[in-house]
């Protein structure tokens, strides 16, 4: 696999990933604002709790449950999470590309970066 191929596939992944994430965030935000009924943004006081962020399954469940007050923000959060995984996904693709090239050094370097990213998530 040539460098140009790796670069092109990375570019593709990054751009389409960010556009999908943006579309979901936009949908969630518009939906949220359309039904907000003049709410004041009162919860901009810092609470220190992860907002609307839970494990993937419950986030999706919450987003589609009409009885849950926070469900539109769960949808926005899904979009945010998709945005946040864009960098690790691009690094993983790079690792894969370098492996396909037989470049052991850069496969290893990419995997180290990926490991730091994953580790930072579970700290």
């Amino acid at each position: 696999m040539k460098d140009e191929q790796i670069q092109n596939s990375l570019a593709h992944v990054m751009l389409s990933g960010v556009l999908v994430a943006a579309a979901i965030m936009a949908a969630g935000l518009i939906w949220f604002l359309a039904t907000h009924d003049g709410m004041a943004p009162g919860d901009h006081v810092f609470s220190g709790e992860p907002k609307y962020f839970e494990n993937p399954i419950s986030m999706v469940q919450r987003a589609v449950d009409p009885k849950d007050i926070g469900h539109r923000r769960s949808l926005i959060m899904i979009g945010v999470v998709l945005l946040l995984i864009n960098p690790p996904v691009r690094v993983a693709f790079a690792a894969f590309g370098f492996a396909a090239q037989g470049d052991r050094l850069y496969t290893a370097i990419s995997l180290i970066v990926l490991a730091v990213l994953i580790f930072s998530f579970f700290w």
Partner: protein
């Protein structure tokens, strides 16, 4: 203020930030966090979370174009990302234990440093001499597209560059910024990589660096989706718009206005941090 009005204002301001960022190469977290804190009264931690997400958004959009054009150097980027991501994790953990007032002060100081770095005379230090042997071993030197075909360039001082990248990563995690200015300085002043490659590669790196802080920010509740969404969407739209305006925009004038404004904001951020302590 009504939520809808708030979000529209935030989105419009973020759009402007995105346009400026695309035109000047400096923006994202650096403008957005102070904007949200000073103009909108948002808690600095929510502001940092939103700014961090906007850095990831612009990185994904802008860097895609540079990669496709063959200007960024993936190997330099990924190698230096080892330093920046480790630094970012350290920075994010540090941010959590620091008082928000202290963060505000450090932010202001980092802003001033960024302005000073941007004002330095731009001498392209890329030279014809042989690269640092370590750089050759790591296969860092590459070629960049130019008028007369692919032009090779050399890379120097790998270890110092790596160390400065760690600091750039620390600032990114600590303050929720891309620290593109610091990365660019490390690459073009220390490692003597040509400007175009530096800017393009930095764009790629800021997203990966920012992602290293994300886990910590998420778990400590720095990310509010209803704030992140208008900011990220605004900045993304602004970045695309700014790239289109590049040919016709008065970039030099914008730089002067912008750097002046950022300096004023930096002082305000420092003052704010000191105020709270009284």
């Amino acid at each position: 203020m009504d939520e809808l009005v708030f979000d529209i204002l935030v989105a419009v301001c973020s759009l402007l930030a995105g346009v400026i960022g695309a035109l000047i190469g400096l923006g994202g977290g650096v403008i957005i966090t102070p904007l949200l804190v000073l103009a909108f009264g948002v808690d600095i931690r929510y502001a940092m979370g939103a700014a961090l997400c906007s850095v990831i958004a612009t990185s994904s959009g802008a860097a895609a174009a540079y990669l496709r054009d063959g200007i960024s150097n993936m190997r330099i980027g990924l190698f230096l990302c080892v330093a920046t991501t480790i630094g970012a994790v350290c920075g994010a953990l540090l941010a959590v234990v620091l008082d928000p007032a202290v963060l505000s002060i450090i932010f202001g100081v980092a802003l001033l440093a960024t302005v000073l770095l941007s004002l330095r005379k731009k001498k392209d230090l890329a030279g014809p001499d042989a690269s640092d042997p370590l750089a050759v071993k790591l296969r860092l030197p590459g070629t960049m597209p130019a008028a007369n075909g692919p032009t090779p360039y050399t890379v120097y001082h790998v270890v110092p560059g790596f160390c400065v990248m760690w600091v750039a990563g620390l600032l990114s995690g600590l303050l929720g910024i891309g620290s593109g200015a610091f990365k660019v300085v490390a690459m073009d002043q220390i490692m003597r990589i040509p400007f175009k490659v530096t800017t393009a590669t930095s764009n790629f790196m800021i997203g990966v660096t920012a992602a290293a802080s994300v886990g910590v920010y998420l778990k400590r509740g720095y990310l509010d989706p209803s704030l992140v969404a208008p900011v990220a969407l605004g900045v993304l739209a602004g970045a695309f718009l700014g790239a289109k305006l590049l040919a016709v925009a008065p970039v030099k004038l914008l730089r002067v206005i912008f750097l002046t404004a950022v300096s004023v904001i930096a002082v305000q951020m420092i003052a704010r941090g000191l105020h709270i302590n009284f």
